[in-house]
């Protein structure tokens, strides 16, 4: 299958290894990667801040480039939700409504794509560590990927021990521009998340969304908490 890969701006700039891991995994499974180099951002920051005209200016090239793809894999639940769910609202009652609906039906968050579209759960990875999962809100609730796909994938990783935290489904407090507009609330939410993760004594917090991990890691580093974060794709690419 020809898989079109959408790499969000912050993954591109800060976490390129996540993108490379996804490429490596999909190529190993025999798929061809189509990477639209001209795309950088899905438009979510402007959309979430209420500036829908400016969001459309960023989103329209994405929509036009991705609409003819066979399947689109998005390396973040949050940007995935933007393209799959919110483009339909953003382009509602415009000439692009149909394109947004069509694109929506072929967009996949990475773990959802592996488990539900390709039917793959065992990638032959080995990761000899204790991990705990953070369910990113957008993947969990907005995309409806649910809790299963990342857990199924982790269950097949050799020597990996998964310890669930009590607040796995609770938001980490990032929320895009929310983290900058209401830093006190965002930080408090992050503290709740970190405390819950620490209770498990896991070596790593794993998630399928780098934006949450960026927030959790940034807070843990500042507070000197022994927390390391890793994206699901990076674990699955280990051998």
């Amino acid at each position: 299958m020809k898989v079109t890969l959408f790499i969000p701006c912050f993954v591109d700039a800060c976490y390129p290894k996540v993108g490379l891991s996804i490429v490596q995994i999909l190529e190993r499974l025999g798929h061809t990667i189509d990477f639209p180099e001209e795309l950088a951002c899905c438009g979510q920051p402007a959309f979430n801040s209420g500036y829908w005209d400016e969001a459309r200016a960023v989103a329209l090239p994405v929509l036009n480039r991705l609409r003819d793809s066979e399947a689109v894999v998005i390396a973040s639940g949050s940007c995935g939700a933007m393209i799959k769910v919110f483009y339909k609202e953003l382009f509602e009652k415009t000439e692009h409504t149909q394109a947004a609906n069509e694109l929506s039906s072929k967009c996949y968050e990475f773990s959802d794509f592996l488990v539900n579209k390709l039917g793959v759960t065992d990638l032959g990875a080995r990761f000899p560590h204790k991990v705990t999962i953070h369910d990113g809100c957008h993947g969990l609730r907005e995309l409806g990927t649910g809790k299963e796909p990342p857990r199924k994938l982790l269950a097949s990783v050799r020597d990996l021990e998964l310890i669930e935290m009590s607040e796995a489904e609770t938001c980490c407090g990032f929320g895009g521009t929310f983290a900058a507009k209401f830093p006190m609330i965002s930080t408090a939410m992050g503290e709740v998340k970190c405390a819950s993760a620490l209770e498990t004594r896991a070596d790593y917090i794993v998630s399928n969304d780098s934006s949450c991990l960026m927030h959790i890691q940034g807070l843990a580093d500042r507070q000197g908490k022994p927390i390391r974060t890793i994206h699901l794709a990076e674990i699955l690419a280990e051998s």
Binding site: S49, Y51, R141, C171, P183
Partner: protein
Amino acid sequence: MIPFFKEFKQQATRLTHDLRHRGLIQTALKKYEISRDAKKSRFQSWETARQAAAETKWEAINHLDKYLVEFAQKLEARGTHVHWASTAEQARDIIVKIVRDKKARSIIKSKAMTAEEIHLNDALEHAGFEVVESDLGEYIVQLRHEAPYHIVFPAMHLTRGEISALFQRELGSAPTDNPEELTMIARRALRGKYIAADIGITGVNFAIAETGMISITENEGNARLTAALPKTMISLLGIEKVLPRLEDLALFLPMLATAGAGQALTGYNTMYGGPRQPGECDGPEEFHVVLLDNKRTHLLADAEQRDALHCIRCGACLNVCPIYKNVGGHTYGTTYQGPIGSVITPHLRGLQDWKHLSSASSLCGACTETCPVKINLHHHLLQNRRNAMAEKPVWWEKLAFKGFAFVVNRPRLYDLGKKLARIGQAFHPLIKGTAFDPARSWTQTRELPELAPQSFHELWKERK
């Protein structure tokens, strides 16, 4: 900055740093979650129940004109006085006039968020009447001269010790931290008030159009006493409370109890269809029902957000909201707190004054997921943000997003931007956390992620 926004930020800053408060709320709501889940599992299918409830409310809200008239006519046929209030002021005036006409001295009142919304107690006290709250939680916050902290659990922010200290101070009771004893202290103080009251004021959980009845749900029996003992009963409700059929209660009563308090059914569920009829041995001699609009019809006119009128005020969205859990109920400065409050307050009290509540959300969607009547809460927060910015954009934000769009749509410019950012990052430690730091709101409490030496775009090019 708008005063309400400033106040919100100040309170949020104070409470997010208060670890005792955080622990108190998280513990209380954890207990709720456990019992809610246990009761949810008693439904054959909670999801199907939600869908059925949403459809019933959709039907009711989209035919309010028909169902409200049916409700009022059925009530009037049995001698109830039905009043229509377009505004909070009208509702207050109607109720104060009834109380004056009855030459009442004291009033007993059971829980009614609508009464909080129109500041009814203030109006009655201003007119010279004593009003006593009979719901235990409401009574406690009334003694503290505070607003309810939560739609359903008004005093959840207080410990037993604090309540005991309050009762010692206000009621002269002996110290105790036994919950039963605390309840008995309040009960003894309240019994006299029921007997003395000339007027009983209640809220309404559901209004049944088919039979012209109001349904009241409670756990303490206080609403029954409030309705039964005084000679005159006044019930105040928002127009969105209407349900088409009596049989709808078979779904809505267990649903409200489960979502609201983690109960299978609330302790007391009562229906009132009018004043005492000839041959009946109890009930009020006179029964008034006050229907309140207070901008609900504005929300009804908004096709996108009309479903916010489905709300049955169960408080489930507050209970799962990580914002509510960290800032608490008073911080909102609204009658209705949490996600539902952030959605409807801009409609009820002005978008520009209350738009900050829609921004104060990480859009995690836990509210929408839990709402028993399937209100698309967090999408409505996004729509409020859009409407607020379309009406009155913040010029520098708009300019920044225009600039951002200009850059990301030009790959070479965007590449240059990333290279410059890498250079900038090397010098960032010099200003980190200071007033000159453009990322200050992040870096005051968190580390920024490091930019990778090569971006994915660059690595991809090399790979090819």
